[in-house]
């Protein structure tokens, strides 16, 4: 093997580079699938590749992308947050309640402004995140069970707020000074819908935190090996708590955006959204075991799901087939994920021996 180290043979070099290419393709699979879908739908649906449609498409993607971005940290620590859909519903309902019913205050009803209503809605969802974090990090409840519980609690709370009814007309009334809520989901900045900007800003912040801050390192460490992380002096419960808070706040934003888009808050909003978010995270290559994955992957995963569902709607494919196709893509993506890690493990010693200068 020492000859190889000095000067690998021609055939070996060829094999090495093709293995590298294969591994690269497998690693970039989400991007490839996305490109493939974009090309496919552009060819089949004439109005798919128009600026207007891409803007609407990204607005739809923003919903599951914001949830997925928030969920990524949770999954990286090896947890899961099933409550995000319900929390989104609760966030919209709290804002809807404040904007249409107001707060009884000293005998008269006081209507808070839009910003206050949004902040209170975020605060309520923050409390749900706090409960999730406390249950998982301090009480030691399994994340699946803890967030399943809060899924029901948050949904029930949303239903109790309106007794099951919808809060319509969230546009506000000028006399009450609470107009402007619709801007959140319906306005544009530099020709791009505001929800898309919110998605991009959140992505930037969370990606930066993941890559450049101690907190980001700690999240990966906790997911990689919780015991080792604790022994290394990382305050594991606090890291976990923060991840659930981030997830709940992202969910609250989604609820507010949807309520603003529809100008109505419905207590059942967000049902099964958690599954879309988990699918996006997993499609992006984040391992449900924790410790491995990225926020960028989740964003791309959300785009894959969004492009797929919007493209199929444009082609007029029936709902039943849409479900079958979506499920197939998710399962295939995760199967390839497994294949990649196995191939990587198998070829690693070979690649290392073939080109020591690259394997630092």
């Amino acid at each position: 093997m020492t000859e190889h180290l000095i000067s690998p043979g021609r055939s070996d070099r060829l094999a090495t580079s093709s293995v590298r290419a294969l591994l690269f393709l497998l690693r970039a699979r989400a991007v490839l699938v996305l490109l493939l879908l974009l090309i496919l739908f552009s060819a089949l649906a004439p109005s798919f590749l128009t600026a207007n449609n891409l803007s609407i498409l990204s607005k739809h993607v923003a919903i599951s992308a914001i949830l997925a971005i928030g969920m990524t940290f949770v999954v990286l620590t090896g947890g899961i947050d099933l409550s995000v859909g319900s929390v989104a519903g609760l966030g919209g309902m709290v804002a809807g309640y404040l904007l249409t019913q107001g707060l009884p205050f000293g005998g008269s009803v006081h209507y808070p402004g839009v910003l206050v209503a949004i902040l209170i809605a975020l605060a309520v969802c923050f409390a749900v995140g706090l409960l999730n974090g406390w249950l998982v990090a301090k009480a030691g409840v399994a994340p699946f069970i803890a967030t399943l519980g809060t899924l029901y609690i948050a949904r029930g709370a949303a239903l109790l707020l309106s007794n099951g009814k919808t809060f319509p007309n969230l546009g506000g009334v000028a006399v009450r000074g609470n107009t402007g809520f619709t801007l959140l989901g319906q306005s544009f900045l530099l020709g791009i819908p505001l929800p898309v900007w919110i998605m991009l800003v959140l992505f930037g912040v969370v990606a930066l935190v993941a890559a450049k801050t101690p907190l980001g390192r700690h999240v990966y460490a906790v997911g990689g090996n919780e015991r080792a992380a604790r022994l290394a002096g990382i305050r594991v419960p606090r890291v976990k708590l923060v991840t659930y808070l981030v997830s709940s706040l992202c969910a609250a934003l989604v609820g507010l955006i949807i309520a603003s888009q529809l100008e109505a808050a419905h207590p059942a909003t967000g049902e099964s959204f958690e599954l879309n978010a988990i699918a996006a995270v997993v499609l992006g290559g984040t391992s449900l075991m924790g410790g491995r994955g990225s926020v960028t992957g989740s964003l791309i995963g959300a785009f894959v799901i969004g492009v797929l569902s919007d493209g199929l709607v444009m082609l007029g494919v029936s709902e039943f087939w849409q479900m079958v196709i979506k499920g197939t893509v998710i399962v295939l993506a995760v199967a390839i994920d497994q294949l990649q890690s196995r191939l990587q493990a198998k070829f690693l010693p070979y690649l290392l021996s073939a080109s020591p200068e690259d394997a630092q």
Partner: protein
């Protein structure tokens, strides 16, 4: 890590919440169980409330349960009603075929069942099946859709309800009985939005992108229609007319403001009260005095007559 105090506090809070949610009732009165699909849809909520109010007024004790369109859960609720020795069951069922066994079991246990809103595919088991005429309702709203689009017709899209729901199928059949006879009308796309407003919003936005000449959107219920109205608005388009089905309070408001063209009102309150009245009659005399199947027509609601209706009933 273990903090007994925290757990104690959490448990105490939980018990307080549960205690707050319980109601007291006079246990000596006969019980009427009202089972409906959900309480987060104003239609079922108002239906259940109307039945409960009438039963309370007639001197019964009332319990409202929700089966979430899950036939298994409905089975358990019927068992619970049998176990609580209910006098009668008012049921908005979870499926025309999957509910037959549950209704039969209750009837065998001596509890008469009165079905509202949705029928079952069996006769002689339930004491009454009182349903709104979904087919006729779909036809009148489709006729209004055709009339509003005018002689030049054009392209339209359809929003379908949950495809496993009987009423979704009856409604789309009723629509097409009218629409397919119109040579100028062309359905360019149809998507299931599962009765959901946010799903209808996204799918309509996408369909409006795919088809540039859409003039109308016909929807299987009001929540989807309102999602379509929001999508039309966000796309900056005008002159696309939208119709719904159900006559929900929110839809009536949109008709008043002109953003929704028409809907058809299901007389849910009337049906719920009628079912309780017939149950009362049956418990007192052993007979409802009516045929088992009773079909109540729906009313077309447009801007001309919208003020005659509120909360699923004719008020004027």
């Amino acid at each position: 890590m273990c903090r007994p105090f925290h757990f104690l506090a959490a448990t105490a809070t939980l018990l307080l919440i549960v205690a707050g949610g319980c109601h007291r009732a006079d246990m000596s009165k006969p019980l009427i169980c009202i089972v409906v699909p959900s309480q987060d849809n104003p239609f079922f909520k108002i239906e259940a409330d109307a039945a409960a109010a009438r039963a309370l007024a007639l001197g019964y004790r009332v319990r409202i349960d929700v089966h979430d369109d899950d036939a298994y859960r409905q089975d358990n609720l019927i068992d619970a009603a049998i176990a609580s020795n209910a006098a009668a069951i008012i049921l908005d069922n979870a499926g025309a075929d999957s509910s037959i066994a549950a209704v039969r079991r209750a009837t065998k246990a001596g509890i008469p069942c009165f079905l509202i809103d949705r029928e079952i595919h069996a006769d002689g088991i339930a004491k009454a099946q009182i349903i709104a005429d979904n087919d006729q309702g779909a036809r009148v709203v489709a006729a209004e859709f055709v009339r509003a689009l005018g002689p030049q017709g054009g392209e339209y899209v359809e929003l379908l309800g949950r495809e496993s729901d009987t009423n979704a199928q009856v409604r789309t059949k009723g629509f097409h009985a009218v629409l397919d006879g119109q040579p100028t009308l062309k359905r360019v796309s149809a998507q299931a939005a599962n009765w959901s407003q946010s799903e209808a919003f996204q799918k309509t936005e996408t369909m409006l992108q795919a088809h540039g000449n859409i003039r109308g959107i016909i929807s299987g219920n009001d929540t989807m229609a309102l999602g379509a109205v929001a999508a039309v608005k966000s796309s900056g388009l005008t002159n696309i007319l939208v119709t719904g089905f159900d006559g929900s309070p929110d839809a009536l408001q949109s008709i008043r403001s002109g953003s929704l063209r028409a809907t058809t009102l299901q007389p849910a309150v009337f049906i719920a009260r009628l079912a309780v009245d017939e149950a009362d009659q049956f418990l007192k005399s052993g007979n409802t005095g009516k045929p088992e199947r009773q079909i109540i027509p729906c009313d077309l609601v447009t801007q001309d007559n919208v003020d005659d209706y509120a909360d699923f009933e004719k008020v004027r």
